[in-house]
Amino acid sequence: MRHLSRFFILLGVSLWGAAWAHAGDVKVIANSSVGASSVSTDELKGVFLATKTSLSDGSHVEPVLLKAGAIHEAFLKEYIGKTDAAFETYYRSLVFTGKASMPKALPSDAEVVAYVAKTKGAIGYVSAASPTAGVKTLDVK
């Protein structure tokens, strides 16, 4: 009975822990057309806030998002400094005043990887554990 209790406690902690992700759990990926192999945090923030359309090496980039989830929230918290709600509000303020289009948002890591692989200039983020065949991983400095 004691072992069963411990099992359920461990299971609960594991599930609870899985709901939270951290920056180390996030991997930034880009289409092979992007020349850079690394990106600064300021550049990454600028790209995903639509204030930058290219990286320091001149590569034009286009952000793609995860729609929701722990990886999405970890990315926003660590690199953008906004909650999901604040980020949505920010983009909607641009879209509804004619200053930007809503970036592509996809529901899963696999779809993000597939989109980044086929779209010139695309830059996105997925779980560090996700397979990323066909795209390059960027170091965030």
Binding site: D42, G46, T51, K52, T53, S54, H60, E62, G81, T83, A85, A86, E88, T89, R92, S93, V95, F96, T97, G98, K99, A100, S101, M102, G121
Partner: protein, 411 residues
């Protein structure tokens, strides 16, 4: 009756909309992705005694409906085009006369330099270009000291162009600039024409050249943004004025007014720490105009500021509060009259204490319940400030409490 039926039908459609639509609408034209977005809101206001913002709020009013729809397409990596139509019915404002809210071509040469032209939303302060977008704000009504909804036409957009860009400076954060120039053209269904209509004025055109700039600094201190905006303009109004004298037939004459010197300065700051957002803005509007066909000069000095706080206490519930102060003074050449900026009289100021609760029913649908505790009624008859003499024939009481409930959707 016709207006009430339209409001009812639109309100019904708006309530049904969330069932039908749940996301933005995308399609392709010649392989180019076109995005369609829309928004709408419906409000209810109830106040004691005084009627506010041209609505019969003392009886409870649903005459607070607005909405818009836009389409945009990214033609190339650097070039985008799009347009948005906006319509509203706020009491006697708007009256369902749709406007081209914006229609732009936008080319981004570099991150630090882009151009946009057409009908462009004006970047000015924190919320000027988004003041109509109820879904973007925690508050049902933005502080009227800085963002008067009855005077939205004065600053909301210009027919012309902008240059803009973002310039990062190592260790100093980044600066975002916008310089704009163009023509302002007010609707005939805004607050200023409505003000004049109380005494026989009927403006058929009101507008003119407008230019300015905005500079905002995202500071190295995480979450802190500060900025300043300036606008100058030369405005001309034309129409007619009907003078009525007891026992005599009214006389209608041509009417003209123009600016000697109009300008607006705005200073602002926003600080976000965690989920808490603090904001404050100060606006000063100086208006030196010659009215009644060159016979009368009125110089008006309008100053307003607010401080606000917003915090989402759960994923779906956010609370907010702001304190807003608005003061006006003027010099009137015809009367030799100078109104000293004494703020104690209710016809020299409008102070507003506000508390709000916003509930996100879904990602695209929210409801707000907001209480306003207003002291003063500004300067009805001299300057548009939300309280109009024709809406309050019984006279104005010095204090107004108002409950505002507003629901909004966006897609």
């Amino acid at each position: 009756m016709h207006s009430k039926m339209r409001t009812t039908v639109l309100a019904g459609l708006l309530y049904a909309a969330p069932v039908v639509m749940h996301a933005q609408f995308d399609f392709k034209v010649d392989g180019l992705p076109v995005q369609i977005h829309s928004f709408a809101s419906q409000g209810f206001g109830y106040s004691n005694d005084n009627n506010y913002l041209t609505m019969k709020t003392s009886q409870g009013s649903f005459a607070m409906t607005d909405g818009g729809v836009n389409a945009s397409v990214r033609v190339t990596d650097r070039f985008r085009v799009g347009a948005q139509v906006y319509d509203r019915d706020f009491g006697n404002l708007g009256k369902w006369h749709p406007q081209l809210d914006w229609a732009v071509g936008d080319y981004r040469f570099k991150d630090w330099f882009g151009v946009r032209g057409g009908v462009v939303k004006t970047v000015f302060g924190l919320e000027n270009d988004t003041q109509d977008m109820d879904f973007l704000h925690t508050f049902a009504l933005l502080p009227q000291s800085v963002y008067p909804t009855d005077l939205r036409d004065a600053t909301i957009r210009h027919k012309g162009g902008d240059i803009y860009g973002t310039i990062p400076i190592k260790r100093l954060g980044s600066f975002a600039y916008t310089a704009f120039g163009g023509l302002r053209q007010d609707s005939q269904y805004g607050g200023y024409p409505y003000l004049l209509s109380a005494t026989g004025g009927h403006l058929t055109s009101y507008g003119g050249p407008q230019f300015g700039a905005d500079l905002r600094w995202t500071t190295p201190l995480k979450g802190l943004l500060v900025g300043a905006s300036h606008m100058g303009e030369s405005i001309t109004g034309k129409g007619t004025w009907t003078l009525a004298f007891p026992g005599e037939a009214p006389i209608t004459m041509a009417y003209e007014e123009h600016s000697n010197r109009d300008w607006t300065n705005q200073f602002y700051g926003e600080y976000t720490v965690g989920k808490l957002r603090l904001a404050s803005e100060y606006r000063r509007y100086w208006r030196d105009q010659v009215i009644f066909n060159g016979t009368w000069e009125v110089t008006t000095d309008v100053r307003g500021w607010y401080a606000s706080a917003e915090y989402p206490i759960t994923k779906r519930l956010a609370l907010g509060s702001y304190y807003s102060r608005w003061m006006v003074s003027w010099v009137d050449s015809m009367m030799g009259l100078t109104e000293a900026p004494s703020q104690s009289s209710p016809d020299r100021h409008l102070y507003d204490k506000v508390v709000t609760a916003k509930v996100d029913l879904t990602k695209f649908w929210n409801v707000k319940v907001e209480a306003h505790f207003m002291d003063g009624y500004g300067s009805p008859g001299m300057y548009p400030d939300g309280f109009y003499t024709q809406d309050n024939p019984q006279g104005l009481k010095p204090k107004t409490n108002m409950l505002l409930i507003r629901t909004g959707w966006n897609f």
